[in-house]
Amino acid sequence: MGSYVPATAAERQEMLQAIGMRSEKELYADVPASMLLDRPLNLPAGKSELEVRREMEALAAKNKVYATVLRGAGAYDHYIPSIVKYIPAKEEFLTAYTPYQAEMSQGILQSIFEYQTMICDLTGMDVSNASVYDGATAAAEAAAMCRDRKRTVTLISAAAHPDVINTVRTYCYGTGHELRVVPCRDGRTDSEALKEMLTEDVASFILQSPNFYGQIEDAKALGELVHAAKAQFVLSFNPISLALLATPGECGADIAVAEGQPLGLPMGWGGPYLGIMASTGKLMRKLPGRIVGQTTDSRGERAFVLSLQAREQHIRREKASSNICSNEALCALTAGLYLATLGPDGLKEAAKQCLAKAHYLCGALCAIPGVTLKYSGPFFHEFLTVLPKRDEVLAALDDAGILGGLPVEDGILWCATEKVSRAELDRAAAIVKEVLA
C-alpha cells in the first residue's frame, strides 16, 4: 500500500504510549461505537507509485488528444510557453496556502500584486482582486456587487456563454433575485430590447464581447444605454483579445470580468481556470475575495499584505459580500507569468494571429459551396457557420485528428488561435469540402 505517513509502527506505538494510550482505537473514544465503520472501506488496496502511474496513464489514454483544435466556446487552445508550465510547479508556490502570514509569504503576495497590476493595465480598470473561481462565477459575483435595496434585477445578454448565464441564474436563485435575459438580433445583443428592459429596478447589465457566437458587440453604445438608465455596466471580455480590442475601461465598464483560462492555463477538461474581476475605484470596497495591497513594514520597507479584509467572510460572516475563501491564486500567478512572458509585443502578436487565422479559416470554409456565415458582424477568433451534413463534417474532421467547431443552434461555432498553422487550416477546409462535395 502507498503511504505518506513517515512514522514506523514502532514509532507510532511509542507516540501512543507518550499520550497514555495503548491502542489507536482509544483515539476515537469520543465517537459512539455504533457509528464506527466496522468493515474495511470498499476501495481497492493501495498501490505503489508505478502501479498508480500505469492506472492513471491508462485513464488518460482513453481520452483523445487532437493534433488540431478548432473549438473554443469558453475554453481556448493557445500556445503555452514552456516557462509558463514550469514555474508554477515550483513546490514553494505550489504547496503554500493563502498568504495569511505576510512575513512568510511575500513571494505569493508580490506575485498577486503584479497580477493585479497587469489585469488593471490590460483592462483599463482601476482595481483587480486576486481572482475568483472562473469567468462564470466572476460574472455572478459582479451581479451581486451591483444590487442594492432599490435596484435588484440583473440583466444579461442572451449572447453570453450559456454556462455563464446559467451560473448567474443560479447565484440569483440563491439570493432570491431576478435575472432577465436580453434577446439577440443577428447574433448580437438587441439594443432596442435592452433599452426597454432597463427599468428602474435594474441594477446591472452583463454583456459579453466577443460574445458566445464570436461577435464583437458594440459595447460602448450598450454601456451608454446602461448608464443612461443609472444601472451598472458589467463587461465580460476575452483577455487575449484586449491586446487589440477596446478595453472594458474604454467601453465604460463599471466591472470587467473574464475567464482567464486563455492566459497560459491548459484546457484541462474545464479546470482549474481563473475568474478575473476588475472594477472602477469607486467599487473597490465591494469587490469580493482577496485583494493584495502595498504597505510598509516595521523597518519602513515596501511590503505586501492581504488588504481590505473587512469585506470578507471571516470578518463579516453573514454580512460579507461573498463567501469566497480559497480562490485560484496559482492560476493568477500563471496568468501574470504568461503576460510577462509574452510581453506587450507578444500578446499583440498572439491576438493578431488569432484574428488572422480565424478570418482565414472563415474565408476558406465559406468558399465551399453550401457553407455560409451565420452572423456577419465583426469577430475576433470565433464565428458561426451554417452548413449541411454537420455531423458527417465533424466526424470526418475527428477521424483526421482535428477537433472541429462546436455544434451550436443549426451551425458550427469555429475557433482558430495563434497555435494552428495555415497548413492545418487548409487541411481542415479540404476535409469539409470533401464531405460536402
Partner: protein, 467 residues
C-alpha cells in the same frame, strides 16, 4: 525585492511564435484599443530569475512544517502533479465529444464512487471549485429540496458560533436567515440551544464534525435526529474530514449532504490560496438537485460554475486515493489524530489547550491567561515562530476561544518534526517571561518586519504605478 515592472527593459522579449503565415486582418478602428499595453518586457532568463527570487520568499508545506489549523497542510505528492500534467488530461477540451473524453468521465466516476464510499453518500458533483463553493452548492441542494416539496416557510439555517465564516456567508448567499447558536462550554453543540432554535421555519443545520476546536461531537446522532425531526436537513462541512476518513462516515452520522475540500483531505496542493476543489456529495433523495453544466449536459439544472469543475484537481485527488487505497485512507486519518494528540501532549507543559481532552486532527491553544501574565499575545507567538522557520498555526480562530492558536500537524509529519516544534513552543513560552519585548517585535529574521495593515487598508495601494 524589485517588482517585475521595475525590471522591465524596453525591447527585452522571448521568442515564442513563428511569423504569421496567413494574411493580416484589420478591424474597424472604432473597435480597437486606444491605450498603451504597458506589460513588462523581459527575457526568459530574467523572468526565470524573477520568479525564482519570488519563490524563495514563500513557505510551502513541502518546504517545512505548516501546522495551519483547519487547513490540513499535508505533504503534496509529486506523482499527483505529473499525472495532472499528462496531455491526455491537461489538453482535453471541456466540450470535446463524449467518446473523446471517456477517460475524463471515468476519472470523475471512479473518484465519485470512492468518495461516496468514504463519506456514506450516494451522489457526487465535482463542479464546485473550492470549499466555500461546495458549501454554496450543498445549501442550494437544501433550498431546492424544500422548494420542490412546496415547503416555502423554511427560511433559516442554523450555524454554531464556532463555525468558519464561510458557513454563515454561504447561508446568506442562499437567501437564508442565519441563526447563530452558542456552543456549550465543552466546545460542542449546546443541545438546549439547538432545540430552542429548531422549528418549522428551519431549513437546515450546517456543522463541522470534528468541529472547529478539534473535538468530535459525541451527541452527533442526537443533533441530526433533532434537525430531521423538525423537517430540516443536515449539511456536513467536510473541512475536518481528514480526522475521520475511513473511520466514521458523515452519512452514518445522519448528514444529508456534504462538501469535501479535495485540497485538504486528499492532498492536492493549495497553490498559495487555490485552486482547490470542493466535491459535494448527497444522499439519494437529493441527487436530482445536483448542479450540471448547461453547455455540457443541457439546461434545466442549477450550475455553480462553467463546465465540470476543477477537473485536474480531481485527477490529483484520485491519484492520491489510488495510492492510499482501503488501508491507507484510515491510516492517514488515524495518524493525523495521533500526531495532533502527541503534539498537544508535548506542548501542554507550557501553553494550555482550550479543551483538555483527546482531540481529533487538530487542537486549539488558549493563550488568554498567558497573555495576562506576560503581555505576549497569540500574534506575538505566531510571529516568533516565523523567526524559527515554522509556519504559524491559525490565529484567533475559532472565535469562541480568546487568544487562540489552532494547530493541525497532519499525518505526514514525522515524530522528529513534532518534537522540534514542541521544543520551539517551550522555548517561546520561556522567552515570553524573560524577554517579552523580543516577541512583541518579532519577526526579526523574516523577509519583512511586521507590515502596517492599518495603513494598507486606510490608503489602499492595490497596483503598481510608474513613478
Amino acid at each position: 525585492m524589485k517588482l517585475i515592472f521595475e525590471k522591465s527593459m524596453a525591447g527585452h522579449r522571448c521568442t515564442l511564435l513563428p511569423a504569421c503565415d496567413v494574411p493580416e486582418v484589420e478591424l474597424d478602428s472604432a473597435l480597437l484599443r486606444e491605450s498603451e499595453l504597458p506589460l513588462p518586457e523581459l527575457s526568459e532568463q530574467e523572468i526565470s530569475r524573477h520568479y525564482t527570487q519570488l519563490c524563495r520568499r514563500v513557505h510551502g508545506v513541502n518546504c517545512g512544517f505548516y501546522p495551519l489549523g483547519s487547513c490540513t497542510m499535508k505533504y503534496n505528492p509529486r506523482i499527483d502533479e505529473e499525472m495532472a500534467a499528462l496531455p491526455g488530461f491537461a489538453s482535453v477540451h471541456p466540450l470535446a465529444p463524449e467518446k473523446a473524453t471517456e477517460g475524463c468521465r471515468e476519472v470523475l466516476d471512479v473518484a465519485a464512487q470512492y468518495l461516496c464510499e468514504i463519506t456514506g453518500m450516494d451522489g457526487m458533483t465535482f463542479q464546485p471549485a473550492a470549499g466555500a463553493h461546495g458549501e454554496f452548492t450543498g445549501v442550494l441542494l437544501i433550498k431546492q429540496y424544500h422548494r420542490s416539496r412546496g415547503d416555502l416557510g423554511r427560511t433559516k439555517i442554523i450555524v454554531p458560533d464556532s463555525a468558519h465564516g464561510t458557513n454563515p456567508a454561504t447561508a446568506a448567499m442562499c437567501g437564508f436567515e442565519v441563526v447563530n447558536i452558542a456552543s456549550a462550554p465543552d466546545g460542542c453543540v449546546d443541545l438546549e440551544a439547538l432545540k430552542a432554535a429548531l422549528g418549522p421555519d428551519v431549513a437546515g443545520l450546517m456543522l463541522t464534525n470534528p468541529n472547529t476546536v478539534g473535538l468530535f461531537d459525541e451527541n452527533i446522532l442526537e443533533i441530526t435526529r433533532l434537525v430531521h425531526e423538525c423537517g430540516g436537513l443536515c449539511y456536513y462541512d467536510g473541512a475536518n474530514l481528514n480526522a475521520v476518513m475511513g473511520v466514521v462516515r458523515p452519512g452514518d452520522m445522519g448528514f444529508d449532504c456534504i462538501h469535501m475540500n479535495l485540497h485538504k483531505t486528499f492532498a492536492t496542493p493549495h497553490g498559495g490560496g487555490g485552486p482547490g476543489a470542493g466535491a459535494v456529495g448527497c444522499k439519494a433523495f437529493l441527487k436530482d438537485f445536483l448542479p450540471r453544466s448547461a453547455l455540457m449536459e443541457g439546461e434545466g439544472r442549477l450550475q455553480v460554475r462553467s463546465f465540470a469543475g476543477n477537473f485536474l484537481v480531481v485527477v490529483r485527488a484520485l491519484t492520491y486515493l489510488l495510492t492510499l487505497g482501503r488501508e491507507g485512507v484510515p491510516e492517514a486519518a488515524i495518524n493525523a489524530v495521533l500526531n495532533a494528540n502527541y503534539l498537544m501532549r508535548k506542548i501542554r507543559g507550557s501553553f494550555t489547550p482550550a479543551f483538555d481532552r483527546t482531540c481529533m486532527h487538530e487542537f486549539v491553544l488558549d493563550l488568554s491567561a498567558f497573555k495576562k501574565e506576560t503581555g505576549v499575545s497569540a500574534l506575538d507567538v505566531a510571529k516568533s515562530l516565523i523567526d524559527r522557520g515554522m509556519h504559524p498555526p491559525t490565529m484567533y480562530f475559532p472565535l469562541i476561544v480568546h487568544e487562540a492558536l489552532m494547530l493541525e500537524p497532519t499525518e505526514t509529519e514525522s515524530r522528529e518534526t513534532l518534537d522540534e516544534a514542541a521544543a520551539i513552543f517551550r522555548e517561546l513560552y520561556d522567552l515570553a517571561f524573560r524577554d517579552p519585548e523580543q516577541m512583541h517585535t518579532a519577526p526579526h529574521n523574516a523577509q519583512i518586519g511586521r507590515p502596517d495593515e492599518v495603513k494598507a487598508a486606510r490608503s489602499p495601494i492595490l497596483r503598481w504605478t510608474k513613478e
